[in-house]
Amino acid sequence: MRVYHFTEQPYPAAWEHNQGSLRVNLPNRLMDPKLAGDLFHRYYDEWLLADELGFDIMLNEHHATATCMSSACIVGLSILARETKRARLLVLGYPLGHRPDPLRCAEELAAVDVISRGRLDMGFVKGVPYEFPVSNQNAVGVMDRFWDAHDFIVKAMSSHDEPFNWESEFFHYRHVNLWPRPYQQPHPPVWSTTGSPVNARILGERGYIMATLGTGYATRPLYDEYRKAYMAKWGKPPAADRFAYLGLVAVADTEAEARRIGKLVSIYLPSSAIVAPQFRNPPGYLSIEDNVRILRGNPRPRTGTKDGRFIDMRTAGVQELIDVGILFCGTPDQVYDQIVEFCDYCGGMGNLLMMGHAGAMSHEDTVTNLSLFSKEVLPRLKAYKQPVAEMVAA
């Protein structure tokens, strides 16, 4: 198993000033650029440490929010491509739905892949709903635009003999010729996220790495949809390395200390949900069926425990988050057992996206969390033999 260290690079100093929204309409005067600079340097120091400790690295991008200062992920990727030595660099996600210019995307990502000497993982996503009002891209038809941008980027990265032409419904270029071209051939691995069976099948057919976020013990059905589609297309079951899962991690020498850290890192969940309601559902983002359900007042719960209870992540405590498989928390033995239990339940999961820092968690706590995990848990996870999906009862 690979383990990616992830932080959203938050700016928690502004969180207490929110008037019901940390996103879209929180005035940026609440950010002190000097403090932001210090935080950025600290987060990069922690990623450099993660690189030394044997982790891989994940970063992401959000817009107009105090929850994530990475508003242009290419900046973080560029710094880490040069400053790190060995870690893979996963961007998850790179929001194609908000990008008007996929040529620029291909150029940025290819350059990062070259500078990092082939360590880039490209996680393409459509983007979260409340950022469509910010980017002003249209959420109606976004998946068609997403796949068109994806197709273009893949072709741009894998065409080498002459400039090519691209005149689709969404994007128009006449002389596409990527300099530099990517280091990895034919292109860096493609990842994406999903919460829906339909998208799981699409990703399975393409054989891309599929990550789920916040799905807990409701993950298995999505993985199984992927497996079915992968099997039908490729004639063999997908390896565990096709699956990734975002888990919050808090590890310490004692259970009590781990739970203290667990509470700090799980602030990610309620803080992420603090969004002015009028920005949460731009037209076209959700299906008509989902919108009918919302109008009727029946939103669909997403996160389940192993025994079928549904947990509200915004209000859940540490124990509930452990039960639901969102938070892996405890002593090294406990954390290892929780992760392995989750992998077994999933029928194999080869990439743990470890949120080892969140909110106002201190540098010292973050370093301790990463260091202990790398010493006591990571080696065992690297040696862990993934189950074969068919042998595991769903």
Binding site: V140, G141, E169, F279, P283, G284, N291
Partner: protein, 267 residues
């Protein structure tokens, strides 16, 4: 006796199909054709204004592509596409001397249609229309309705906000589905550029048929100044306020609305 206005339509009692797209249609009354183009919230067959218009005209009130129960095809993504769709619809139904009445989004579609051809249109009525840019680049002419929850939208859009309330928990499935489709389709056509076509204002001079602007004076989605500027861009267009109505004067003052439309068309 068959209505001459629909002589060429080959529906034979079946649904209206235009350009391969199945159109949900309310059709009532006898006389000159009156094509009613609904606003972004869609059309309710029970709205009193429809019978009042149909009392003296042949009312043809389609749901726009993607709205209500009308189909949608991938090639229709802009209000310009909708304008060509309505030119086709008027051809297919062989409408002559039609009175075209649009409210809100419907008025934008009506204007976008009329700048292309008024060959089948005798009168144009624009009620609380959107579709053009009036202010400078840092002035949002039209309130961002996509950044409003429905109760807040109702407060700005109606003279009496209660008029906009809908009990989605208890409405029939088809009405809730239509509401969801209406919102998605409004986003399809009006998300960016927001609620307008930057080219439209410069083309309005091409409309040289009698044009009436009706304006619900309690509209706080659009200002009356916006409406008057829009009106001034169409040669000879007349502007008539309607009191005690907001963005949807056809819903809040149906009799007044129908009376003004029919009188303007000489009916």
């Amino acid at each position: 006796m068959p209505n001459p206005a629909v002589a060429r339509a080959s529906r034979a009692g079946g649904p209206l199909v235009v350009g391969g797209l199945r159109v949900e249609l309310i059709e009532r009354g006898e006389g000159r054709p009156l094509l009613f183009l609904h606003p972004g919230i869609g059309i309710d067959a029970k709205a009193p204004v429809l019978d009042r218009l149909a009392a003296k005209a042949h009312l043809i009130a389609p749901s726009h592509p993607g709205f209500g129960a009308s189909g949608i095809v991938p090639s229709i993504t802009t209000v310009d596409d909708l304008a060509y769709f309505y030119l086709d619809l008027m051809d297919d139904l062989d409408l002559r001397e039609a009175i075209v009445v649009g409210v809100g989004l419907g008025a934008w579609i009506a204007a976008a249609t009329a700048v292309k051809s008024t060959a089948r249109i005798s009168h144009l009525v624009m009620a609380n229309g959107i579709g053009i840019k009036v202010g400078d680049r840092e002035t949002r002419d039209i309130v961002d309705v996509f950044a409003l929850l429905e109760p807040d939208f109702n407060k700005l859009a109606y003279f009496d906000p209660k008029a906009g309330e809908r009990d989605y928990k208890n409405l029939p499935d088809d009405e809730v589905t239509a509401a969801a489709r209406n919102r998605e389709s409004l986003g399809r056509f009006a998300w960016q550029p927001y609620m307008h076509d930057p080219k439209l204002k410069g083309r309005l001079h091409r409309i040289r048929i009698p044009t009436l602007f009706l304006w619900g004076t309690h509209d706080r989605i659009l200002s009356e100044g916006y409406g008057r500027a829009y009106c001034a861009a169409i040669p000879g267009a007349r502007f008539e306020p309607i009191e005690k109505a907001g963005h949807f004067p056809h819903l809040e003052q149906p009799q007044m609305f129908a009376d003004r439309v029919l009188a303007f068309a000489g009916l």
